[in-house]
C-alpha cells in the first residue's frame, strides 16, 4: 500500500460506517444545496437533492481519496456526468475539506471556482469538466483504462442522469466498457424521473433501463438510491464484481427532502428557490 493511501481521510477500509452520521450529513448537505442555489439565484435543485445519499456514500465512506492531496495518484476517481447537479458535489467537497465551505456562497459568481457546471481546472476535487450531457461516462472509461494500463488499483465511479441517458454517447460508452473488461468502473444512474421539459417517461422514455444495461453486458444492481445503506451495499457489490463493469440503477426522488419540490418534479429541475420557498425548504430540512 502506498504512503499516499495511508493518508486517505475517507476510505472503504472502515468496515462499519456510522449510518446515523451519514444520514445527518445528507440532511446538512441538503441544507447547503438549498442555501447555495438560493444565493446563486439559478441552478438545478431537483437533481442535486435526488443524488445526496449516493454522493455521501461515495465521499464519506466508499471513495479512497485525500482532500489535502486532491491529485494523489492512486485516488479513486468520481466523474459527475450529470454536471448540472454539481451543487451536491460542491457540498460534499466542502464538507470533506477540499475547500473552504464559505466558497459555497460564491456559486455561479464571477471568479468563483464553483462554476455553474463542473470545471476541473478551477475547482479542487473535480475530476472532469462536464455539463455537456453524455460525455462523463466516456471520460470515466478512459480513466479506468489508464488504471488497467498502469496496473493501479484505483476505481472509477461515474454518475449519470436518466434524462442524460437519452444521449447517444452514453451508449457508445456502454458498449466500450465491457469490451475492455473494465471491472474497475462503476456507473450510477440517478434515476429521478425528471428532465428539464418534464418527465422522462413523457418525453423520451428510457425504460426498460436495467434490462438495457444488462444487455450491454454490465452487472446491474437496482436500489432505492435515497437509502444510504442500500447505496453503500451497492457500491460494495460493485467492488465484488470482477468480470465486468457495474451499473447501479439508483431510484431516487427528484427534489428529495423538500416536499414541494418532490411533489412537482418538472418544476424543480432548473429553477432556484426564491426567498419564501427557501425558508419553507429550510424549515422542513431543519425540522
Amino acid at each position: 500500500m502506498s504512503s499516499g493511501n495511508q493518508n486517505a481521510s475517507c476510505c472503504s477500509c472502515h468496515p462499519t460506517p456510522d449510518i446515523d452520521q451519514l444520514k445527518e450529513l445528507c440532511r446538512l448537505m441538503r441544507i447547503d444545496i438549498i442555501k447555495m442555489l438560493h444565493k446563486a439565484g439559478s441552478g438545478h435543485p431537483g437533481g442535486s437533492l435526488s443524488a445526496v445519499e449516493m454522493i455521501v456514500a461515495l465521499y464519506f465512506h466508499h471513495l479512497r481519496h485525500n482532500p489535502k492531496e486532491p491529485l494523489w495518484q492512486d485516488r479513486d476517481r468520481f466523474v459527475l456526468s450529470k454536471g448540472h447537479a454539481v451543487p451536491v458535489q460542491y457540498a460534499a467537497l466542502a464538507r470533506a475539506g477540499y475547500f473552504d465551505p464559505a466558497l459555497l456562497d460564491t456559486l455561479r459568481t464571477l471568479g468563483s471556482p464553483l462554476q455553474g457546471h463542473p470545471d476541473r481546472l478551477r475547482c479542487p476535487g473535480i475530476e472532469a469538466s462536464t455539463g455537456a450531457l453524455g460525455q462523463g461516462l466516456s471520460i470515466a472509461v478512459g480513466m479506468a483504462m489508464a488504471a488497467k494500463l498502469d496496473q493501479r488499483d484505483y476505481r472509477v465511479f461515474c454518475m449519470l442522469g436518466d434524462g442524460e441517458s437519452q444521449e447517444g454517447q452514453v451508449w457508445e460508452s456502454a458498449l466500450n466498457a465491457p469490451t475492455f473488461k473494465l471491472n474497475n468502473l462503476c456507473a450510477i444512474l440517478d434515476w429521478n424521473l425528471g428532465q428539464l421539459d418534464g418527465l422522462v417517461a413523457d418525453i423520451q422514455p428510457i425504460e426498460p433501463v436495467a434490462e438495457k444495461w444488462a444487455a450491454f453486458n454490465w452487472h446491474v444492481v437496482e436500489i432505492d438510491g435515497n437509502d444510504i445503506e442500500q447505496c453503500l451495499a451497492a457500491l460494495q457489490e460493485a467492488d465484488r464484481t470482477t468480470d465486468r463493469p457495474t451499473m447501479i440503477i439508483s431510484r431516487t426522488i427528484k427534489g428529495k427532502g423538500v416536499s414541494f419540490m418532490e411533489n412537482d418534479i418538472p418544476a424543480w429541475h432548473g429553477v432556484a428557490p426564491n426567498k419564501d420557498q427557501t425558508e419553507a425548504a429550510l424549515q422542513e430540512l431543519q425540522g
Binding site: 481546472l121 472532469a128 462536464t130 455537456a132 478512459g142 488504471a147 494500463l149 457508445e172
Partner: protein, 307 residues
C-alpha cells in the same frame, strides 16, 4: 512521389510510441489512418473502440487526465464532427489529447463529400487552447509526431492526408513548432500554403519565377498558434499574399492569415481553397476541377495578379 502523411504518421507512432504513456484509440479505421502500424507493434496500448467516435474522444480525455498521451484517430471529418466532445471533454478540460484526422481535403477522391474533411480546421480553430498541426511531407510528419509525444502539452489537432506527397524538405530538416518554413525566397508576392497542397504552391512559384515574378513561399505546419511574425514580415515586403489549402477558405489557413494581416499589416489577399461541398472523382480530376493542382493554383494567382 513520397509517402502519404498518414503513412508517415503510422511509421512515426511505431518508432516513438515506445514511450509507455502513448495510447492509441481508433474507431474502425486503423487500416486507413495507419494507426494499425502502432497496434501491430504495441497491441497492449492500442484500442479499437469501434465506430464510437464521440465515446473515443471522451475516453481519450479520461486517459489523458490519468497521465497518458492518447492519440484518437479517424477521418478528419468524422473526428472533428464530434465537436461538442472536443469542445468540452478535450478543450475546456485542457486534456493532453492528440486528435488525429486523416483523409483531409477533397484529395481523398472517389469516396466523395461525406468522407472529405473540408471544415475540420474551422471547427476546432476557435478553441482557445487548441494547437493545430498539418505537416506537408514525410520528414515534417515524423518530426511533428515526435514533438507531440516528447514535448507538447495540451490539446492538439493533427491533420493528415490520404494521398502521397512530394518531399518538401530534405534530410537534416528540423521541425520548429509554431514557425513557418520559408521554402523559397522572393519579394514580389507571398504564397502561404499548408499540408498536401504545398507542392502545388511550389509548382506555381517556380512557374512564376520563370516569368520574372519572385514569390516568397511559406509553409505553415502550425496553423494554430500561427506564426504572425513571419506572415507580417513577408507581407510587408511583397505587398501581396496568396493562401493555398485543401480545406474551406472559411475558417482555415486563409482565414487565419486574413486575421493576422487585417490586424497587423493590411495587404491584398487571395485565398485559394474550397468554397463548396466536395464530390466524387479521382483526386487528379478533383484537383483539376477545384484548381488545387499546380497549374490550377498558378492560373488563379496569375489572373488575380492581372486583375
Amino acid at each position: 512521389m513520397g509517402k502519404a502523411s498518414r503513412a508517415s504518421f503510422g511509421m512515426a507512432l511505431a518508432e516513438f510510441g515506445t514511450d509507455p504513456r502513448v495510447v492509441i484509440l481508433d474507431a474502425d479505421l486503423s487500416k486507413s489512418t495507419k494507426s494499425a502500424d502502432f497496434g501491430n507493434k504495441f497491441p497492449d496500448r492500442f484500442f479499437n473502440v469501434g465506430i464510437t467516435e464521440a465515446g473515443m474522444i471522451g475516453t481519450a480525455a479520461g486517459l489523458a487526465l490519468c497521465g497518458k498521451i492518447p492519440f484518437c484517430c479517424s477521418f478528419a471529418c468524422f473526428v472533428t464532427g464530434r465537436y461538442d466532445q472536443i469542445r468540452v471533454s478535450v478543450g475546456y478540460t485542457n486534456a493532453n489529447v492528440r486528435i488525429v484526422g486523416t483523409h483531409a481535403g477533397v484529395a481523398i477522391g472517389e469516396d466523395g463529400y461525406s468522407q472529405q474533411g473540408l471544415e475540420d480546421i474551422a471547427t476546432v480553430r476557435s478553441l482557445p487552447n487548441m494547437t493545430i498541426l498539418q505537416p506537408a511531407d514525410h520528414l515534417e510528419t515524423v518530426a511533428a509526431v515526435k514533438y507531440l509525444i516528447q514535448e507538447h502539452q495540451g490539446p492538439v489537432y493533427l491533420r493528415l492526408t490520404r494521398q502521397n506527397l512530394n518531399e518538401v524538405h530534405s534530410e537534416g530538416y528540423t521541425f520548429q513548432f509554431g514557425q513557418a518554413d520559408r521554402l523559397q525566397e522572393g519579394s514580389d508576392l507571398t504564397i502561404i500554403a499548408t499540408g498536401g497542397v504545398v507542392g502545388s504552391a511550389l509548382y506555381a512559384a517556380k512557374a512564376l519565377a520563370e516569368k520574372g515574378v519572385q514569390a516568397d513561399v511559406l509553409n505553415i505546419h502550425t496553423i494554430r498558434p500561427i506564426d504572425r511574425e513571419s506572415i507580417v514580415e513577408s507581407a510587408a515586403r511583397t505587398g501581396r499574399v496568396v493562401t493555398v489549402e485543401d480545406h474551406s477558405i472559411v475558417g482555415g489557413l486563409g482565414s487565419a492569415v486574413a486575421e493576422v494581416l487585417s490586424e497587423e499589416q493590411p495587404t491584398r489577399l487571395l485565398r485559394i481553397g474550397m468554397t463548396e461541398y466536395g464530390e466524387s472523382g479521382s483526386p487528379e480530376d478533383l484537383y483539376q476541377k477545384f484548381g488545387l493542382n499546380g497549374p490550377g493554383v498558378l492560373a488563379k494567382i496569375e489572373s488575380w495578379l492581372e486583375a
